[in-house]
Structure formats: C-alpha cells, structure tokens
Symmetry: D2
Subunit: 309 residues, 4 copies
C-alpha cells in the first residue's frame, strides 16, 4: 500500500471514530436529513490514480463548492471583465453578509461569498434562458468529472428557492446597483440549482483535477483553462474559499480549498493532488468540521502544504 | 548567468524604466524624502546564493515588514496562547481600521494589521522594559540577517511617535478591552521603533530565509522555528500580509509576502527562495507598486507560485 | 389679514422666487416629471381655519409621508406589540440602509425608515388580502382629510414596484429573520401603493389634524387616537421623520415632521396647527429643500417651535 | 399644595419604593459607591419657585449632563463655526462608539456623544491653559446655578483619567483627522474634569433655567444666550441627549433632556420648567432608570410634553 493509500485509509478510519462531528445544516429539510456519521475522502494524484475511503461514492449536495466551477465558466466567457462585477479580496465577514455590499456599492468582495457567486451566475446567465445556463454548468461538471450521471437534486433546489430570502435580499440589493443584469428570479433560479448539484467525493476530486495540474485534465490531456488561470483560481480559493474561516483553513491545512454547507470540501495540492472530502457536520464558520481536520492530517502526512514541506 | 540571475537583472532594469511608480508615503518627512526612482531586489536561494540588482544594498525603513519578525518572536515566547489576543483572519478593511475592533471587542483580526501588530508587540514587551524588548527584536533581526550592523532609524521612530494618533487610538481602544496590558506609551514606543528598523533588500532577504526553508537558517543550520510554525507564518502572510490588498497579491504574485509603507516587501517561495524587493512608491492599498509587479514577474519567470507551476 | 395669513402668503411668495430649489427625485419617471418651481403650503389651525398659498391644491405623491398614517393604523391594530417588530430610535444612516438590519437581526430601527415602514405595512396586511389592506389605508386617509376624492396614482406604484430592488432587498432581508410574515410581494405591493397616494397640501394638512389636537379631529370631534398616542407619534416624527436629516430638521424647524421623496412634508405644531408643505426639489438627505426652509420661516414667525417660543 | 408640589412629592415617594432601580455604574470606584436607593427631584418653574423632594440637595457627579453647558460655552465662543467640527444628528449607536468616526472621517455626529463632547471641549480649550478653560466652565456653572459652592470632584476626574482608554482612543482618533487641535492630554484633562463636576438636583435645575425661558435667567433677567440658541440646544437635547436611548426618552417623556452616567438627568419643559432628577441606577442604554420613569410621570401629570398636552 502506498503512503497515500495508508494515509487515506487511516484518516478515514480515525474520522469515523471521532465523537466531535460538528452540526449538520438544518435550514432546509433535505440537508438536515444528512447522516452526521457520514465521512468520505477521495484523492486523485498526478498519475490519475484515485485513492478513496469511507463514503467516497455517496452523492451529497455540493452547495458552494459549485462556485469554483461557475467562476471557471464565467472567466471563460468574459475573461478579466468579470472583475468589474466582483472583487478578489477576502470579505472579513460572514458568507451572507450584506454590510460590505452597502459600503462598496453593490460589488461583492469575491466570487465565493454568496453575493459574489450570485453575480457570477448572473454573468453566466446573460443572454441565455435559465435552463440553458444550468445545462451548461451541469455538462461542465459531468465533463470535468468524466461522469455523465451527475445530476441536480431538484428537491434541494426547490427548498432553497422557497426559503432563500437572504440570498434574494443580496440579489435584489446588487440589482439596485446594476450589478445583477438578469431578472432576479432567473439568476437565483440558476444559482439555487447549481448549488444543488449532487456529487460524490470521487466525482468531485475528479472534477477538480484541472486546478491541480496546470489547467489540464491529466487523463484526457485536454486543457480546461490556461495554467495562469488555474493558479489564480487556486489563489482565490486560498484567500476566500472558506468565508470568514479562510484564514483558519490556510493556517491549518495550507491548501487552496472551497467548502460547501452540505459538508463537502474540494482542496487542491498543486502538482500533487485533487482532493474531495465530505462530512456533513459543520463548524461555527459553516465549514465541514471533520473535513477540515482530515485535510489538515492528510496535508501534514503527505507534506503537501503550499507553505512549505 | 543562471536563470535566476537573468531574471533578477532584467526585472530590475525593467522596473528602473517604468514611468508608473506609485506614490511615496508622505505622512512623516523621513519617508517622504525617499527617492521614487529607487528600486532594489535581492533573492537568497536554497543553496544560500544571494542574487541581487538595483539598490539592493540601500537601507530603507522596513516598517510593517517587521511584523513578520515580531510575530515570530511572540510565538516563541507564548506559543499558541498568542491567538487569544489576536486572530488569524483577513480583515476585509484598511490597515488602520478601528471598526472591526469595535465589533470584535478589541481583538484584532490578524497580527499584520496595525492593531494586531501592536497587540503582538505588547506580548513581547510583557515583563520587560521597552528598551530591553526593543533590543531583543533588533538582535533577532541582526541574527537572522547575519549582520550586526542593522540599526533603528531613531528619527523615523520619533516622527511616528509624534504623529501616530491613529495607532494611539487603536492601542487605547484595545486597552479599554484589556487586550493591551502594558502602558500604551511603552507598547507604542516599542512598536514605532521596530517599524523604524532600517534594512537593505539583501539584509531582509537574508532575514527571511528561515521561512523559506522549513524554519531553518540554511547557512548556519540553526533551527529558528519548527517547520510547522514556518508554514503557518507563511499562511498568515499569504492571507493577511498586504492589508486589504492581500487577495490581489495572492492572485497576481502567488507567494506569501509582507509589505511595509516604506516600500519594502518580503516574499517567500517555500523551498526555493527568500525574496526582498524595495521601491518606495505605493499603490492605493498602501503596498509597493513596483515591488508587487516585480514579484509577479519574478514568480512567473521562475515558476515559483505556490498555486501551481 | 391675520398674522398666520400674512406669514403663509409671504413665505409662499418668497419661496417662489428663490433660485435654490434642490433636486427633483429622478429614480422613476413619474416623480422626475414634477415641476421644480412648484411650491404649496397649507396650514389648518386650532379653529379649523385653512390658510394656504401657492400650489396648495395640486396633488403630489406623498410617498413616505404615508408612513405616519400607516404607523397610526398599525398601532390601532396591534397596539404596543408593534414595537416587537420595529424600534423607535433614530437610525444614524440613510433611509434605505441595510447595514443596521444586519447588526440588529432584521429589526428596523424605526417605523419611518424604509425597512421599518415595510414592516409596519406587513402588520397591517396580516390576515388580509393586499387589496383590502390598501383599501383600508386609503379610506383612512380620505376619512382624516374629509375628502373621498383622494386616490392612489397607480402609475407611480407600478414604477416603484418595477424598480424597487432596494426595498425588495430590505423586505427579503427582514423576511429571512421572520420580521416580515406575509409574502414579500404582497407586503411590497401594499407598501408601494400607499406611498403612491396623491394628495394636495390642503388635504395633507387636514389629514394631520389629529396629531396636532390631542388625537382628535377638531371639526368632527371624533377621537382618532388617544392623546398619548398622538404625542408619541409626534415624538417619533421629531426624532426619526427626516431620515438622517432628522437632527437638522429639529434644529432648524423645531416641529415634528415627516417628509417624502415627492417633496411633501407634514409638520405638526401641537395645539396650534397641522401644516403641509410641498416643493419637489430635495436636499442631500432626500428631504424637500424649500419645504424645510419654509417651515423654518413659518415656525419662527409664528413662535411655534416646540423647543421654546 | 400646588399641583406641581403634589406631583413632585408623590413621584419622589413612589420612586423611593420601587424595587427596580437599574444598575449603578461601576467602571470607577467613585461612581460605584453611589447609593442605589438615592432619588432626588427638583423643578424650577417660570416664577422661579423651586419645588423639590427626596435627595434633591445631595451632590452627585453630573458627568455627561455637563455637555449641555460646554456646548453652550463653545457656541458662545465660536458660534456656528462649531458645526464644522461636530454634527447635529443622532448617532444610532452607543455613547462611546468609534465606528461612526471612521465612516465620517473624524467628525462626531453630535455634541452629546463622548467624541462630540471631547471635540467641543477642545474648542473651549483653544488658546487657553487647561486650568483656565476648566475654571471658565466651572464659573459658568456656578453663575447659572447662582451658587459659588459648586466644585469639581477631583477623585472622580483622576479615576476617569486613569481608566478612560476608550475616550483616549476617541480623542486620538479625532486628532488623526485634525478634529482635535490641542494636545490630547490637555483636552481630555479638561473633559474628565468638567464631567466630574458635582451638583445637586436643585443646583442643576437652577443651572438649566436659561434653556426653559428663552435663553434668559428669569431671576436675574440676564440673557445667557439668544432665544433661538436656547431652542436649538433644546432640539439637540431632544434628538441626541440620551445616546442610543434618545428615541425612547422622546417617546416616553417628551422633553428635551440630557443624562449622565452618574444617574442625573436635566430636562427642559420650554416656558414651563427646568427639571433635574437623580437616581444612580442605570438602564441598558446607560441612562438613569428611575430618573426617566419619574420624568415620564411628571410630564404626564403636568401636561408638559412638547408633543402635545
């Protein structure tokens, strides 16, 4: 068994047994039903080997992890013009704060807080029907993961849509400044649906490979984005990927990563691995509690921190 | 000439000729006198070679770059207890903002904004006379740079002390919450003096080596800090080292770095290099304009970004 | 001619001639079309005499002045329980700020900023159809003004509804905290429509009489509200009636008053007069520029300031 | 016994017996020693009669009530130029908040929050020695109260000076914007000392007469300020006199008033009475708990609300 295989198995085993599991999100029933004992981990290395353990094949709601991929699509569509609509700085506040938007006249601080991801979705939507835009996002995920079976959990999307008053506030607020161009209901419809994509750790780790390997899908050899774009997306994941817990994640784990309220985290060890972890219990900042701990352990054992071996 | 030597020479030459040079800080006369045409760059690689160009031997006021070293000292003194007094998250606001302190009851967001660095200085001061604490900081810098000639520019410190009302506000504000324990004048005295340390790019790059090489000074072999501490300091530099321009720096340069209002930046390429750059003109976020551009260029040419080659 | 008659005529004449007229609101075409040269003033004294001058019979969009009357209705419906949903303190920020809502978990600071007035409208709506609630508000205005011809300008309401993204943000934000109970579109529908009530100065001054005369309509003798409630509504008008210009209005005019972005102001001289003034040009705080000046002049000439003769 | 005499006696009796007494300020030992059972009330009517009850002759630390008088002095010195240094709007935040100062570049919102009162003190100090400025303030109080025995409690001033880090933060912060012109220690020295003036209810009610009677001291006939200035000071007391409880005070009491953390409140019934009340227990907003209730009762019984009989 390779060092990576041992590490993955042992970490998964250790996480299974820990009593501290965080709190499962309860704001919609579909997420509240998640099993707090679930834990999955999958790593795709530079040679395309997939190493996994635990519930690595159980699909979960990727939620905000989808924002890495919508950012990639929007950059592909409009390039650096995207940065007229959204910033690239950590927000210093919660994922759904509206305070910063007032101070900065409707421009969200970065593409990974809710407001920023809604603005990015609005860019993708431009000139399309919601159904088309959503299809494009889903097909991109299927393509990256090399798995056409990935779907959207419509019950999750419907629940989010029904209860997402705070996101609706953010979107209307941005629209009052002209930052959102499409009808708010269209943009939010696409947003809620791409957050409701269901994927397993294995699928998610596969989908993240291009960020680890200079923008290229190492198995097909296809260049998804240019190398400098991959680097820059990683940089934004590092500084902004965990909301107001981004500093903590960088400090403890030392990898670019993006978390979702469904308990998933995609983390990138540039040149070395694309990693997905899932455990539904969240910490106070809304990030997977055991997911973060598992990644810290894995990074330490493998010497993968970007801040030094 | 090695690839690194070529890169350093050519970048320095290019920077010399650029017309856009930012704005030299003018809030004290000692900084306002800096030559906007100055530019220096020094790189120490893993083998201990020093490659430099331009005004790499001209001392400048390191200002906030000193905060990397006071953080290191304070962690050495009190370990993780330091994090009871200061956070590790990006602030999402200007280097001297007081708003966040009110919301978070006097606990600064990170050790690199002014409030946080003052709190760190207060930790170093505890139980000592200001003169002793300052001597310790200076000797640490001399030791790291292997150069006993490094001194404090007392005229700069005196000017800062005379005009530093905003820092005095921050310190008193923290003291009202008990976060500052020593008399405010003592803590600020030490703070203003360590910010007034004068160093050249060469000296600064030498001093930063332990962060690039797993906490060890590669020439002496002495372990300055444990490897995980070096990694963690790098992580904080990445997320918080350029105030509200930290996201931009990560995006463009892709290295942990800490800037100072004197125009200096210390940047770390883990395992590869310790880099110091100096150009007095600042950008809107208060970071060296050409310094950042030079580092972006260097990182790209050398493939040193921590976010992928 | 009585002293009041002279004052009203001369002030109207003076205002007609002033070159400084403020800026007409332009965010919807219906308001943008208002004649900047229009000026109307009407005063109903304790004996029921109506003294007026200028365009005192021209209907204008009362906008936020309606919030005085919806507050009165809501207090009549739920009494002091209203204060669980909205505060009674000046906001210290703009009429449409959302920052305070985040800090205070969705509870608006007072019933006269937009968020607070939307929350009050939601209380009136509870258990009714929007059409019924709106009918009740309109009939209350007609009853108070003793004029069944008062109507709602549906083009204004439709424009507000089409462009009111910031109010929609506020309403959704409050709904995310449970402060809004009805569907946001219902509540906002009623809100936009009662803001679109069109009244003349004469009608508005008539409608305000109960606040000047201990809660009683002096011509019919009907007690609209108890005296202490009238006093308290006046108190809120004084401290909160002009958004972030409330302090200025109290300082210069010295009367409880409520302004609207249509350029109208209702002011109350307790025991002495109900006053309505209209001039469409606004000052920087969004209050009628000449309206405020005219009221300052009138108060001074009549010795009506509540802060001393 | 007149209606006023009965009201004062009965209210004092009732307040004596209430079990709810608020919390005495404890941040300095001198205030913490105040007897929570103390209660005093004094009213000076238009004929110069003084009606009083309870501990109306016990001196207490007037604290922020002094800000009414320093405002009066500063307006006398520089007139409306004062408003370049301080605003006239309610702050919407706590008495010692620094957030607003950052947003508004060092200009305090009004002269009654701490920052504003420090700026006003700085105006009075200009061109004088602290001792002279303080002497002038004290003599003004003695003159207004017609009582040369009024003194400053130096132990209170010394305690405030020793522990007033938050006020020191505010002052330094304003100085960083140039709003404070004198050395911070000088300005704060005068500020802490005038807040430490000790007066009884009787003395305070006497001192406030000019605000109730058109700027004139009714017994001597001396015009202290012009009538419109008295009105305007009353207006600021109404909108800003109780920090973030100003709206509540206006709503319940309906009089201009200024409270102090020592438990005193000066309230003005224009044309009718100058009122001082004292009870050391404070409510959550830092205003005298029983003082406010007593004033509400008195206003109701006497029909003195400025918002209608």
């Amino acid at each position: 068994m390779s060092q990576l295989e041992s590490a993955v198995k042992e970490i998964a085993e250790e996480m299974r047994q820990r009593p501290d599991r965080g709190e499962v999100a309860t704001y919609i029933p579909e997420l509240a039903r998640a099993d707090p004992n679930a834990f999955g981990l999958a790593v795709v290395d530079a040679d395309g080997n997939v190493v996994y353990a635990g519930d690595a094949d159980t699909p979960f709601s990727i939620q905000s992890v989808s924002k890495v991929f919508t950012l990639t699509i929007a950059l592909g569509m409009v390039g650096d013009r995207l940065w007229n609509r959204v910033g690239r700085e950590p927000s210093g506040s919660a994922f759904n704060s509206i305070v910063q938007l007032e101070r900065e006249r409707g421009i969200p601080r970065n593409p990974f807080i809710n407001a920023g991801a809604i603005a990015v979705t609005d860019v993708i939507l431009s000139g399309h029907q919601p159904r088309e835009a959503l299809g494009e996002i889903l097909r991109f995920m299927q393509f990256l993961a090399d798995d056409p079976s990935i779907t959207i959990d419509k019950a999750v999307a419907a629940s989010e849509n029904r209860t997402g008053f705070r996101n609706r506030a953010l979107a209307n607020y941005m629209k009052s400044f002209g930052v959102i161009e499409n009808p708010v209901d269209f943009t939010l419809g696409v947003y809620f649906h791409h957050c409701a994509i269901a994927m397993s750790c294995r699928q998610l780790a596969m989908a993240g490979r291009f960020l680890a390997y200079r923008g290229r899908n190492p198995s097909t050899g296809l260049q998804v984005v240019q190398p400098d774009r991959a680097r820059r997306i990683n940089a934004i994941m590092l500084t902004c990927g965990h909301y107001d817990g981004s500093g903590e994640f960088a400090y403890h784990v030392g990898l670019p990563g993006k978390s979702g309220v469904g308990g998933g985290i995609l983390a990138i060890a540039p040149g070395k691995a694309s990693i997905a972890v899932w455990s539904p219990g969240l910490d106070a900042a809304g990030n997977s509690h055991l997911g973060r701990i598992a990644l810290e352990e894995l990074t330490k054992r493998m010497g993968w921190s970007i801040f030094g071996a």
